[in-house]
Symmetry: C2
Subunit: 339 residues, 2 copies
DNA sequence: ATGAAAGCGCTAACAA
DNA sequence: TTGTTAGCGCTTTCAT
């Protein structure tokens, strides 16, 4: 086994002290160029790698950041992870990823795990279920830098990175209006989460702008799963009076809507235009292809990490909220007016 | 800030030595039940958490395992990650995930990162490109336990976990035969990777069993991307003589095949039956829905981690290869014989 | 510019 | 059963 070499090994070979070696390796100014060069050369030759545990113990920082993700196999989140890793790596940080599986109990465990691992900062997107956020205060109390992304929480002051959900909802609705739709229904996500509130409010804003009322008096609200999408489809499309368009706050629900429409011979987009949110990978593959709002997970993750590591490295503690742009993607499911 | 409390704090409050506290916390036998109880109670009350860096430095193990994944946003791999995390967590291990992005250079970096972080073991699935595997020997040299999964490498002795790719290829081909197909073509993946070799060999085995020849003299081999799928579609479907069925070694290529068939009015499955491999999430969503072979990423990840951690904890070094079952999933794209 | 020494929090060999 | 002591590899204060 290749024995790990330490600064003491280098010191001994060079006949100097290990503190001098340490200084050379850390570009300390109080060292001669000559000694520094010698040390660096030998270190390189021997393939010296600092012992991370020793540095962590001494410096009380691990050069590791923690990530709390609701579901790693959702495309938006795995994209976000890519962004996080990219920036973190460029700054010499490792990433520990944990998953809440949308459960508050598991979210607590994630926080415990990460704090115990001694991460220098945490990036989190909160679980879908109704939350009391108490456990997040543990992070604040420990003075560990924290950045929320996508699923943020107003209650806690911290850095936040989101996409422009309001504008997304607005553009989605206005797009349907531009296609000539008059009776537009909306399926909203859980209204304790900002992002769903904003998508819904953007929707309303667009309708108001065009002096329109949403289809039916009240909008549907659910967790936007396949199953709840089926329920929603029955409610919206099963009656005598049907909407001529639906904006759903995610793409998953649209799958259920399309399925229901096909089964009941409702023509998409002519009788029913549909637009979702997220641009899941399948959105362009299904038939009809699904119009949606694209949100770039990679950028969100990257930006969140930039914010976090800047705060860690400068020992600052900003409270910014960054809003990243979204993009309307028009596909078959809403293309009433063929160009 | 909540100051982290140490075993010395506990020792002082109890008027005993810190080594006694350490023994109590680690269930050492050389301690009285009474003292142990007192220590545990106070530790619990104060919310004591051991300092991971100190333990790592002292014990030369981090209770962390490293993961090398080609692409985190591919469904099979994120599923595998779930399996890894599940088992690792149950044994008190953290997981550091790294991504090779299918590049050998990045794969090297991943290994460096993980070894430097001092992981106790590594689980890897190798990058798609032609590989010389040299960098993996660094892991072996350091005597860090290693498990390969899915994309394994014969050259290196270690633990391996794969799915039954051979049987998968066999079942896919036999299924097409059972549907009455006579001219069956195959699009193979890179033949330096075991799993693609096995899928292809399984395919041949089934044809031989039924005394059939594959369509056209030689089979196509490529990297199974969307683009190469389009190329393959042109070659196989653009000529005068067409196959009546295609087995492709992944689902991605099937998307290109279906697209081409639709554009050229080739009826699926009647004129052309198609079956893929992997059961990507979109396989059941597209139209026609795609027949395929299901491989359970979660199980693969879970099993690989079990193997790894068993070796770490027992300081053993087995060289098992575990083959997990796959499952044929029949959908519209190959359902010539309607039941 | 360099070295000696202390200490981060923990475990374990040795002593009592 | 408990305490004393040393040391894992590193950084940093203080002295030279």
């Amino acid at each position: 086994m290749e024995q790990n070499i330490t600064i003491h090994d280098i010191a001994k070979k060079l006949g100097i002290s290990s503190s001098t070696v340490s200084r050379a390796l850390n570009n300390n100014s109080r060292i001669s160029d000559k000694t520094k060069a010698k040390v660096l050369e030998l270190a390189n030759e021997l393939g010296y790698k600092p012992n991370a545990a020793a540095t962590a113990l001494r410096m009380k920082r691990t050069k590791t950041i923690g990530l709390i993700i609701p579901k790693i196999n959702r495309h938006f989140f795995s994209d976000a992870i890519n962004g996080v890793e990219k920036y973190a790596k460029s700054k010499g940080y490792n990433v520990i990823i944990t998953q809440s599986n949308e459960s508050e109990a598991q979210e607590k465990e994630c926080i415990q795990t990460l704090l115990h691992a001694g991460v220098d900062g945490i990036i989190a997107s909160i679980a879908l279920v109704k939350n009391d956020y108490q456990h997040y205060y543990k992070i604040i109390d420990r003075e560990v830098p924290l950045v929320f992304f996508d699923r943020i929480c107003d209650e806690i002051e911290s850095n936040k990175v989101v996409v422009d959900d309001f504008k997304g909802g607005f553009l989605a609705a206005e797009h349907l209006i531009s296609q000539g739709c008059k009776q537009i229904a909306h399926i909203a996500g859980p209204q304790h989460l900002n992002l769903y509130i904003n998508r819904t409010q953007g929707f309303f804003k667009a309708l108001r702008k065009h002096n329109m009322e949403p289809f039916a008096s009240e909008i549907l609200e659910n967790y936007l799963t396949r199953e709840e999408g089926e329920e929603a489809a029955k409610i919206l499309l099963g009656g005598k009076k049907r909407p001529d368009a639906i904006f759903a706050s995610n793409d998953t629900v649209c799958l259920s809507l399309i399925e229901y429409a096909k089964q009941h011979n409702i023509a998409i987009p002519d009788e029913l235009a549909i637009i979702g949110f997220s641009n899941e990978p399948y959105a362009k593959l299904i038939s009809p292809s699904l119009s949606t709002i694209e949100q770039r997970g990679y950028d969100v993750g990257y930006k969140a990490t930039e914010l976090l590591i800047t705060n860690i490295d400068n020992q600052t503690n900003t409270h910014e909220t960054i809003v990243l742009p979204i993009k309307l993607i028009e596909r078959e499911s809403s293309a009433k007016k063929k160009k």
